[in-house]
Symmetry: C2
Subunit: 196 residues, 2 copies
């Protein structure tokens, strides 16, 4: 399977400086090259991939996170990355790579990892709400990944996620909104009381 990045870099001689994948697209396969990127907008899941191709959720990247930092050392991606919503990425680092930006990236990765770990413990509703909080923008709007991806992230089942989202909607914690180019069941206005 050709990756999004491969298709783009192959056709354009100068290395591309930004990517705009759609939801569902594989950005980089595990073991492939592709350099490091800063995720400007959107949500990306990282997975480990077994020999038989089965993928296991490993981590989450959201706006501001660095993807593929390890390629600067090994040349290849440790994880497979898949866009869960429409994304925007820029090549990273823009300028010369300093120790400080690496350290900042490391610290951010650790904090993100801790958040992902927290998404997999406790009551099911709380996990879903924690994810919603993580993905909501300043205005309290969220574009959720599809039910199955939420399930993979939270270690629950997609039927459970479906029921919980409905319950939160009926409780007024989420209000469905329509956003251009986004599946109707995935974009919500979050009740302010549920945030922070």
């Amino acid at each position: 399977m050709k990756s999004f990045a491969a298709m783009n870099s192959a056709s354009e001689m100068p290395a591309v400086a930004s990517l705009c994948p759609e939801a569902g697209e594989v950005l980089f396969p595990a073991g492939g090259s592709g350099g490091a990127w800063r995720l400007e907008r959107g949500v990306v899941r990282l997975d480990t991939v077994g020999r038989d191709g089965e993928r296991q959720f490993a981590s989450l990247a959201i706006a501001g996170d660095i993807l593929g930092c390890e390629t600067l050392l090994f040349g290849v991606h440790t994880f497979q990355s898949t866009a869960l919503t429409r994304c925007v990425l820029h090549a990273w680092p823009g300028g010369p790579l300093g120790g400080d930006s690496l350290l900042a990236s490391l610290a951010a990765a650790q904090r993100r990892a801790a958040e992902v770990v927290a998404l997999r413990g406790g009551q099911a509703v709380d996990r879903l709400l924690a994810l919603v909080r993580l993905l909501a923008d300043d205005a309290g709007r969220v574009v959720l990944p599809m039910r199955q991806d939420i399930a993979d992230i939270t270690a629950l089942r997609f039927e459970t996620i479906s029921r919980l989202v409905k319950r939160l909607e009926q409780a007024g914690a989420l209000r469905s909104i329509r956003l251009e180019g986004v599946h109707a069941t995935r974009s919500f206005q979050v009740d302010p009381a549920c945030l922070a």
Copy 2:
């Protein structure tokens, strides 16, 4: 914020060059200073700490992992670290800090984080076995953390862990052994078939 270069100067080197905490000891409180350390032996849990002092499991460090890398940038620890078994740590880095060692540390942290995430999904027995595999040494011996800590790591309950350990013992997957200075219920020889 202190710079990368400033933290590298001789005046900022830690006074102590190694630590040997016992199981249960808090190594560094969240928000405290203490520099970076390489965990040579043992297991350490990292927790986020709320205002009311409640701690939430965030990650795990095992032999070879770097603790408190972020102090090189921020000067303080992001997480509270607690020894789960007897440990040995050395100040890190020993020599001058290169970009490569930072990158290697970042890559290692990401892989460790993915493993921790995996410990919180799937059937309870499989999670416990995955942890055992993670902690076992080359000879197939493990010193497990206490039941409650295993429960925190795997997002299960200590009663469940207790039952599972017993079940694995009765199935022959684990055989209790006695090690000097280790609680009798925590050291095991792992059946080779369970590893790899």
